[in-house]
């Protein structure tokens, strides 16, 4: 870790020893175009150099943890959508896996591979957003539009699976709501086949671009020990050189079956964060390809969920026409199925880091307590340390490279 050169702020009157600086207070946010969400930074500036900063959060705090205490499990899925909305399916499935862990449900391999495919697609869309926004904030609009269409293609897959695009509410406890249609497979195959060309084009525009490198290298660095002390996870921690990835450290959803590299950086600066995310997109594409190959090799083409009828919503056709099905539907939706007493913690590698769900159940229809470990909340604490001594432009890039999503930060 290179020691950062800090300019000498202290301009003193040599005779009387007075501080000659004229400081400005600048409100960066809550409605600044570069905050990409609603949070405030009160910067103390000397010219353009940031001396101090204080953050205010909570502008879109919706008390998800408290709301969850009054909601049956299926209704909590919709809350998870609204945390990191750039990769909503990972949140949905993380929550479903937590409940499955509590209920002790084992999933068939096919279902898990299907989940892996969708989670990796979500990771790609998350990283696409973050990396293009870094470019956008550095002033390069074109790369942003080059790869944003891939996010659109991924959203089309979501739409085909569950009908929604952003807040997906995708999947069910124990698997999926229905088997993937042929169109879904076709679209996924097309993405895996065609995206590398687009991604390469994007990398050509930025990765070795002199201006972009000058802007991002040594911009908002954080040493590994400080990152660990803050509780960093995910790409932001890996950019500091720590190879912690939940998919490898504590495999869930059959991630142990896949062969992939965990990319790491060195300095933990904006360029490293950018490159780690860039590399992870390639790895995600490879994981999706592997999962498709594994699914193709399976003779089973129909299983889409575990055998847990008490969590399976009956088809609408039956709900409308048969009384048993209607009762069953009502009981599931209202949370009248049996739930064991217990507490579980489950974490997934979200688009942004370790997304954890700590669920305490007292056997009632709703959680007794649910804590959401939201990586963005943790990253944002480190923001002042990362930008102090830098320039205003650095602060903007650092914020976009941390990929702080207001919805997840405030929950």
């Amino acid at each position: 870790m290179k020691e950062r050169e800090k300019p000498d702020f202290w301009q003193k009157d040599l005779v009387q020893g007075r501080d000659l600086r004229e400081l400005t207070t600048l409100n960066l946010g809550p409605t600044h175009p570069a905050t990409h969400g609603i949070f405030q930074n009160v910067l103390t500036l000397d010219g353009e150099i940031i001396l101090d900063t204080e953050q205010t959060i909570g502008y879109i705090h919706r008390a998800f943890e408290k709301i969850a205490e009054r909601r049956p499990f299926y209704q909590i899925t919709t809350l998870t959508d609204r945390m990191n909305y750039c990769s909503a399916p990972i949140n949905n499935m993380g929550w479903h896996m937590t409940v499955e862990k509590l209920l002790g449900i084992e999933l068939p391999k096919r279902v898990e591979y299907m989940r892996v495919i969708i989670m990796e697609l979500a990771r790609i869309s998350d990283h696409v957003i973050c990396n293009t926004i870094i470019g956008q904030d550095a002033g390069a609009t074109t790369p942003f539009l080059y790869v944003y269409q891939w996010r659109e293609r991924i959203y089309e897959v979501y739409e085909e699976i569950c009908g929604a695009r952003l807040t997906t509410n995708m999947g069910r406890i124990g698997g999926w709501e229905r088997n993937f249609s042929d169109i879904v497979w076709k679209k996924i195959r097309a993405i895996v086949k065609e995206m590398p060309a687009g991604l390469k084009e994007f990398e050509k525009m930025l990765v070795r671009n002199r201006i972009f490198m000058d802007r991002t290298i040594d911009c908002g660095p954080l040493p590994a020990d400080r990152a660990l002390a803050y509780g960093f996870t995910g790409p932001n921690l890996r950019a500091c050189g720590v190879d912690y990835d939940v998919r490898v450290a504590d495999p869930y959803c059959s991630y142990q079956d896949f062969n992939f590299i965990v990319p790491i950086g060195q300095n933990g600066d904006t360029y490293d964060r950018f490159m780690v995310r860039e590399q992870e997109m390639w790895e995600s594409l490879s994981i999706i390809q592997q999962a498709m190959d594994k699914l193709d090799a399976m003779s089973d083409k129909t299983t889409f969920r575990a055998d847990v009828p008490e969590w399976l919503l009956p088809p609408k056709e039956e709900v409308y026409n048969e009384m048993e099905a209607l009762i069953w539907h009502f009981k599931i939706v209202m949370g009248e199925t049996d739930i064991p007493v217990g507490e579980v913690y489950h974490c997934v590698e979200g688009g942004n880091g370790e997304l954890g769900f700590y669920l305490v159940s007292d056997g009632g229809r709703t959680p007794f307590r649910l804590h959401l470990r939201r990586p963005c909340f943790i990253y944002y604490q480190a923001f002042p340390e990362m930008i102090k001594g830098g320039m205003l432009s650095d602060a903007i890039l650092t914020m976009s490279s941390l990929n702080v999503i207001a919805g997840e930060l405030d929950a």
Binding site: L26, P33, A34, T141, T142, I211, D214, R215, L392, S393
Partner: protein, 337 residues
């Protein structure tokens, strides 16, 4: 006299419409570079878009913030616009045209110090930005104005040095004189490749175009110096930027690409009027190419950070400019003595 007045009026209209259509062009070029379609709703291919934009600008409320310095706030956009429009007067757009026995010189005015006039106008133009940003009483606008002022001052030096070498070569400060020299001795780009490069980079900075658009970069400073401006006052700032881009392209063409000169045209023995018109067309074609180049660069590269911009200006461009002067002087001495 009347001929000159008419010519100036025509020039004025052309400058304004080129600036207006540069906004349309910019959006189409951006769309072309980004796999998009661009404006296509107002009229066929969206060619009425600038009119729609202008109308919208005029219809908006003309808002002056309560704590702004009202006089300066109103003066800012006016200065920016006026200086941008005045620069075009000294540029030789073509040779001479003879209509009904009257000879019209296709250059509004040909002062001996044409280049200095261009510089003076550009320098005054920065007051428009500075006053506007400072008078808004907004911190983002102030930061933008400060950036603009220091950027302009720094890059004017580099630009001036690159011109000095050219002037040493041509021996005149008059723009038509420089064009005449290029017609006789070959284009400036061939004789001053390094100078051209320096001038081009500085021109980007002087017009506040990406990658030097620090004064108004929306991701850091919201709108930079024009954050508080609305209605046609904002329109004037944006318009002034496009006008500056047009004029800069014309100046680049004049100084380094032979202005209205078309190689080999004189040997064809055409009617002088036809030749002059072809010359004007060539001038505009070269200018439009540079306008396109400005846009091409804007949509291809990220922007610098402010200190990096200063480093580039002071530590790289100015030494290179001095080197260029020494080289030019040395070569000139060796060959001509």
């Amino acid at each position: 006299m009347i001929a000159t007045a008419i010519f100036l009026l025509v020039l004025f209209v052309i400058t304004l419409s080129v600036a207006a259509y540069s906004t349309y062009g910019e959006r189409k070029v951006a769309a072309f570079l980004q796999d998009r379609i661009g404006p296509n709703r107002a009229g066929p291919f969206g060619i009425l878009q600038p009119l729609a934009d202008g109308t919208k600008m005029f219809m908006k409320e003309d808002f002056v913030p309560l704590h702004a310095n009202k006089k300066l706030f109103l003066l800012g956009p006016a200065i920016a616009m006026i200086t941008a429009l005045l620069t075009g007067v000294v540029i030789p757009w073509g040779g001479t045209l003879t209509v009904f026995g009257t000879t019209i010189n296709l250059q509004g005015a040909d002062p001996e110090i044409g280049i200095l006039y261009v510089f003076a106008m550009v320098s005054i133009g920065v007051y428009g930005i500075m006053l506007g940003g400072w008078a808004s009483n907004n911190k983002f606008a102030l930061l933008g104005a400060v950036r603009a002022a220091s950027q302009m001052v720094s890059y004017e030096l580099g630009m001036g040095l690159s011109i000095v070498a050219l002037v040493m070569l041509t021996g005149t400060l008059s723009l038509s004189g420089i064009v005449d020299y290029q017609i006789a001795h070959g284009w400036g780009i061939i004789q001053q490749p390094l100078g051209f490069l320096l001038f081009l980079v500085c021109a980007f900075a002087e017009t506040n175009r990406a990658p030097f658009d620090m004064p108004e970069c929306e991701t850091e400073l919201v709108g930079g110096y024009h954050t508080e401006f609305s209605s046609m006052r904002l329109g004037f700032y944006l318009f002034a930027e496009y006008t500056n881009m047009f004029i800069s392209s014309a100046v680049i063409t004049t100084l380094y690409f032979g202005g209205y000169h078309v190689p080999g045209l004189a040997s064809l023995g055409l009617d002088p009027n036809v030749a002059a018109i072809i010359g004007v067309a060539a001038m505009f074609a070269k200018t439009f190419f540079f306008i396109f180049f400005f846009m091409w660069v804007r949509w291809s590269v990220p922007r610098f950070r402010f200190d990096q911009l200063m480093n580039l200006g002071w530590k790289k461009l100015i030494p290179l400019g001095i080197l260029n002067i020494l080289l030019t002087g040395g070569i000139h001495y060796l060959f001509n003595h």
